[in-house]
């Protein structure tokens, strides 16, 4: 590394050329994402009974676009990202409002904006938006500042507004992921532990109120989760069938494209939310653990990048993104295994879906961006350090 000394100094100043930045990108990380996505292509191919259409090929095309997006995001100067973090957040917030208003006019839950080539899902984009905005806010705030409740007021508002907008869509899963992502940010930024406890108690006591605000089908999902036998042909049917599919897969699975449960249409949404069930049925516990391990490796990369970054913003972004990614796959897997109620959260990089795929690649790009710019010196409020 001694002959790289000149580079390290320039890295610290942040005036690298694009080629130097490309060199800095962790290509092993990109390869890791490709392997995970390949699991997805294979399962989508199988879900369509051995056909590239209608899912596997479009998914592949989006992934290629996603790789380009990842690299482009990684090359942007991190200070530029920080400067525009609020702008991005507000833009997504506006889109959320547009979707909600349209949904009201359209008379139902509408979560996306049709751009023709892609259905833009603002709630999905908010997962990155909230992490960026909070990291921007907490950049330069010391532990002492965190003791001041007024300092916490602003970021709480920044969380509550999009959370409410997504909840009324209603999209319980995404709203949950956003809250959990934000809680992680507060925690890492140094919020006092007793405040978490206080909010936790307040949250628990608010459950009856929240319950009454849930739509009937959401209430049913929770009730069915608590007691799946309650309705074996209705809402409990999905969980039951999913568990049967998983369990019957066994250690080594029924073989690629041999999953009887998914083949005979017993699995709902086998190309999106329940794709992990299909994978575990066809590839068995071995296949499921392989995928889980790949995700864990991604997590390790994420935390390593976070520890390695020299600025608060980068650390917070990296840890926040990594945690969001974690919640994605944890909630999805726990749901199909019957550990938590059925909520519509996709399996990252594998479930069929345009916005989710691009959003994930965007998040991965942010992670890479932090890695590439890990040594850049930043002032408390962004811009260049006056050291």
């Amino acid at each position: 590394m001694s002959d790289m000394g000149f580079l390290t100094a320039r890295l610290r100043r942040g005036d690298m050329s694009a080629v130097e930045k490309l060199w800095q990108i962790s290509w092993s990380f990109v390869l890791l994402l490709c392997i995970i996505a390949s699991f997805g292509f294979a399962m989508l191919y199988s879900a369509a009974h051995g056909s590239w259409q209608p899912w596997a090929f479009p998914q592949l095309a989006r992934f290629v676009v996603g790789i380009a997006l990842l690299i482009s995001v990684a090359l942007i100067d991190i200070r530029t990202i920080m400067r525009y973090a609020y702008a991005f957040y507000i833009a997504v917030l506006v889109l959320l409002i547009v979707v909600d208003v349209n949904g009201v006019i359209g008379g139902g839950a509408r979560r996306w904006i049709d751009l023709g080539f892609i259905n833009l899902q603002p709630s999905e984009m908010m997962k990155a938006g909230i992490v960026l905005a909070l990291a921007r806010y907490f950049q330069g705030i010391s532990i002492d500042d965190m003791g001041n409740p007024l300092v916490l007021l602003m970021p709480v508002v920044m969380l509550v507004v999009p959370f409410g907008l997504i909840l009324i869509q209603p999209d319980l899963g995404t709203a949950g992921v956003i809250v959990m992502g934000a809680v992680v940010m507060f925690f890492l930024a140094g919020m006092r532990i007793w405040k978490f406890i206080l909010i936790g108690v307040a949250g628990l006591s608010a459950i009856p109120i929240a319950w009454s605000m849930l739509r009937e089908y959401q209430q049913n999902r929770v009730l069915t989760f608590l007691n799946p036998e309650r309705d074996p042909l209705g809402a409990g049917y999905h969980i039951l069938q999913s568990k049967i599919a998983l369990g019957s897969g066994g250690l080594f699975g029924k073989g690629f494209m041999q999953g009887t449960q998914s083949y005979l249409n017993f699995l709902p949404e086998r190309q999106t939310d329940f794709i992990f069930t299909m994978l575990a049925e066809e590839l068995g516990m071995v296949g499921a653990l392989s995928l889980l391990s790949l995700y864990v490796i991604v997590m390790i990369y994420g935390f390593a990048i976070s520890f390695r970054a020299r600025h608060q913003f980068g650390r917070l972004v990296a840890a926040g993104i990594t945690s969001t990614l974690f919640f994605y796959f944890f909630i999805n897997m726990a749901m199909v295994m019957g550990l938590i109620p059925v909520v519509g959260v996709p399996l990252p990089l594998i479930s069929y879906g345009g916005t989710a795929m691009l959003n994930l690649m965007f998040c991965a790009g942010l992670l890479m961006n932090v890695w590439v710019h890990r040594d850049v010196q930043m002032a408390a409020r962004g811009g260049f350090s006056e050291l």
Binding site: L233, G247, S248, M285, M337
Partner: protein, 634 residues
């Protein structure tokens, strides 16, 4: 390297991030544990559940309602039949499977093409019918070879069966496979081999006959074998439709017509119940139900006797002299002539440039004699005095020129011309010659056999506006003579009496001079010996007859090609003094006039009708046994 004031924050961050990562690691390990529990510990149980616990929904087609005659005799019923189905999704290669199947049962190239077409149109998991009406042998051979025939299954279905075969085909119509144009989102229509009504009663009452689909929730194992039924909703079977038809009369009339291209309509003059509606020649509706071969279709569609047309409602004929009923009543109502006044017929009628011939020299005739002799000269004169519009008004009151309301597909309105009609449709002025033609039921006048029967019934029942009825309104209205309340047409009884006297004389006239004198009723029993039939003949030309031909005198119809011969018509009612039934007989291109050909047919049917008297008498049991003994073909 790190700035001092930040190092405290970094330590805090690292500590907390480590806690966070540790927490996430714990959660990941719960996932691993759950996977282990589901896929290793409980794997056997779930594997069994996966085998057995598969739930399928199946749509149950409702049995189609029956069509019955007025006494409950079956005219259209359902019959069990075995058929082969194929689920394209489960057949690895459709072509190969069909090839294998064709080694067991005969499959024509045409059938194979149809199956492939249907398979590409439907969703892959919906079965397609390959072949119907399997014999036991074919069925067992398919079942033995089942392992080589993936996706092939045998199904017990219901097919439509018409026990009367040809006798009521036009009336009943038939059922046939659903066309693409019929698909309207009803999942029933997607079922393999589902049949819908395509003609006649089957079409008109299709929705009622069809019923509502049921559903069955069954558990199937991994190979699609049915384990048990969870829930079954039978749906609603189609409703039966009870017709006013008496199958015996229908049957008899069809037989009596033999090979003629002809139609017969029999009607109760008080209730309007149609007791027979026969169009001849006919076809076997069962052939349509099973599917016609192209040869059969060709034979039916190219036959010049038009077996596919329901002539009773879709055939429009010049009514000929039967139309004189309307002209007579119009003349009496408008007092253009007194009934006793005689006109002289010298065999020709001259009006300006028009020279019309009568078929005979009748000499001096009064009104009743003019009717019984069907003297054209007399009717030319009163038609001229009336003008066409007054004739048309009476014809319409008697039911001509409009659809009857029984709703059979293809029913025609007929045509009652007026001066205004000719102006608006042809943009020509009405000429006096046109009126003369209308006076004897030729020219532009057109009527269906059903309309002619209605006309006869309205005269017979004393001028009441009876309407034909094909379906019994409700089972409770079973009692005899219980018909609808009929509006009066406002024709005085005195006028009807004169017309009826003329019609009586047509059949029973003195000295056997009348054309239809061979058509007297022949009852011998003391209580029925004096029963008579009253009627009116008609012989309608279907071609222009040149003056030269007229001068040469009537030609033997045998000299003419079939399609140029005159139509023979006869309308009648009986008994004359207390009418119960009206009949209209139309024989296309007959070997003689209405009196020679049509009247004896009407007489025979009327005798049978008065014997059975279906409007008043319940059906005798011995007759019932005889009909139900008809064994459906295997």
């Amino acid at each position: 390297m790190m700035v001092n004031r930040d190092s405290e924050w970094v330590r805090m961050f690292n500590r907390r991030a480590a806690v966070l990562a540790g927490g996430q690691a714990v959660l990941v390990s719960t996932l691993v544990g759950r996977l282990y529990y589901l896929q290793v510990v409980e794997s056997k149980r779930y594997a069994m559940l996966a085998e057995d616990n598969r739930i399928n929904m199946q749509l149950l087609p409702p049995p189609r309602g029956r069509i019955l005659d007025r006494f409950g005799q079956p005219l259209a019923v359902n019959q069990q039949n075995f058929r082969v189905l194929i689920v394209p999704e489960q057949a690895r290669a459709l072509g190969e499977t069909l090839e294998a199947l064709s080694r067991i049962i005969t499959l024509s190239e045409f059938e194979r093409e149809r199956i492939k077409k249907e398979a590409s149109r439907k969703r892959g998991f919906l079965p397609v019918t390959v072949h119907e009406n399997l014999t036991w042998e074919e069925m067992s051979r398919i079942q033995v070879n089942a392992p080589d025939l993936p996706g092939v299954s045998i199904d017990l279905g219901l097919t439509r069966f018409y026990p009367q075969q040809e006798n009521a085909a036009h009336l009943l119509g038939y059922v046939a496979a659903v066309d693409e144009a019929d698909l309207n989102g009803d999942p029933l229509l997607q079922l393999p081999g589902f049949r819908i009504g395509k003609e006649g009663i089957e079409k008109v009452y299709d929705m009622a006959l069809r019923g509502k689909a049921g559903a069955s929730q069954i558990e199937v194992n991994a190979f699609g074998r049915i384990i048990r039924e969870l829930e079954r909703n039978e749906g609603e079977p189609g409703a039966d439709v009870v017709l006013t038809i008496d199958e015996r009369i229908q049957h008899y009339a069809a037989e009596r017509l033999g090979g003629e291209s002809a139609s017969v309509v029999v009607m109760d003059v008080h209730t309007g119940d149609l007791l027979a509606l026969v169009s001849n020649p006919s076809y076997d509706a069962n052939a349509f139900s099973r599917g016609l071969t192209s040869d059969e279709w060709k034979a039916l569609s190219t036959n010049d006797h038009k077996p596919l047309v329901n002539k009773t409602v879709a055939g429009q004929y010049s009514p000929g002299s039967t139309f004189k009923l309307a002209v007579t009543l119009a003349a009496l109502e408008n007092q253009v002539i007194s009934p006793e006044q005689t006109l002289s017929c010298n065999g020709r009628y001259v009006l300006g440039n028009y020279v019309k011939r009568c078929h005979k020299v009748h000499g001096a005739v009064n009104m009743t004699r003019a009717i019984s002799l069907s003297c054209d000269s007399y009717f030319y004169e009163i038609a001229r005095r009336l003008g066409v519009d007054k004739i048309a008004a009476m014809a319409r009151r008697l039911g001509l020129g409009d659809v009857s309301g029984i709703g059979l597909p293809g029913e025609q309105r007929g045509l009652v011309p007026t001066e205004a009609w000719k102006k608006s449709v042809r943009n020509e002025k009405w000429s006096p010659g046109d009126t003369l033609n209308v006076g004897i039921g030729q020219g532009d006048v057109l009527a269906t056999p059903l309309q002619l029967a209605v006309m006869a019934a309205r005269v017979a029942n004393g001028g009441l506006g009876v309407k034909p009825r094909l379906v019994r309104p409700a089972l409770s209205a079973e009692g005899p003579d219980e018909g609808p309340v009929l509006p009066s047409l406002g024709i005085p009884d005195a006028h009807l009496a004169i017309l009826k006297q003329g019609m009586f004389d047509v059949v029973n006239g003195p000295g056997g001079t009348t054309t239809a004198s061979k058509a007297r009723l022949r009852f011998k029993e003391p209580d029925r010996r004096d029963w008579t039939m009253s009627g009116k003949t008609g012989t309608a030309a279907v071609r222009r007859i040149s003056i030269a031909e007229r001068e040469a005198g009537a030609r033997d119809p045998g000299e003419l090609p079939w399609h140029l011969r005159d139509n023979a018509l006869f309308v009648a009612f009986a008994p004359s003094n207390q009418p119960r039934y009206a009949i209209a007989v139309v024989v296309d291109h007959a070997m003689g006039g209405g009196g020679v050909i049509a009247a004896p047919i009407a007489r025979d049917i009327m005798e049978r009708l008065l014997d059975l008297d279906p409007s008043r008498k319940p059906r005798a049991d011995d007759e019932q046994v005889a009909t139900t003994a008809v064994v459906p073909p295997a």
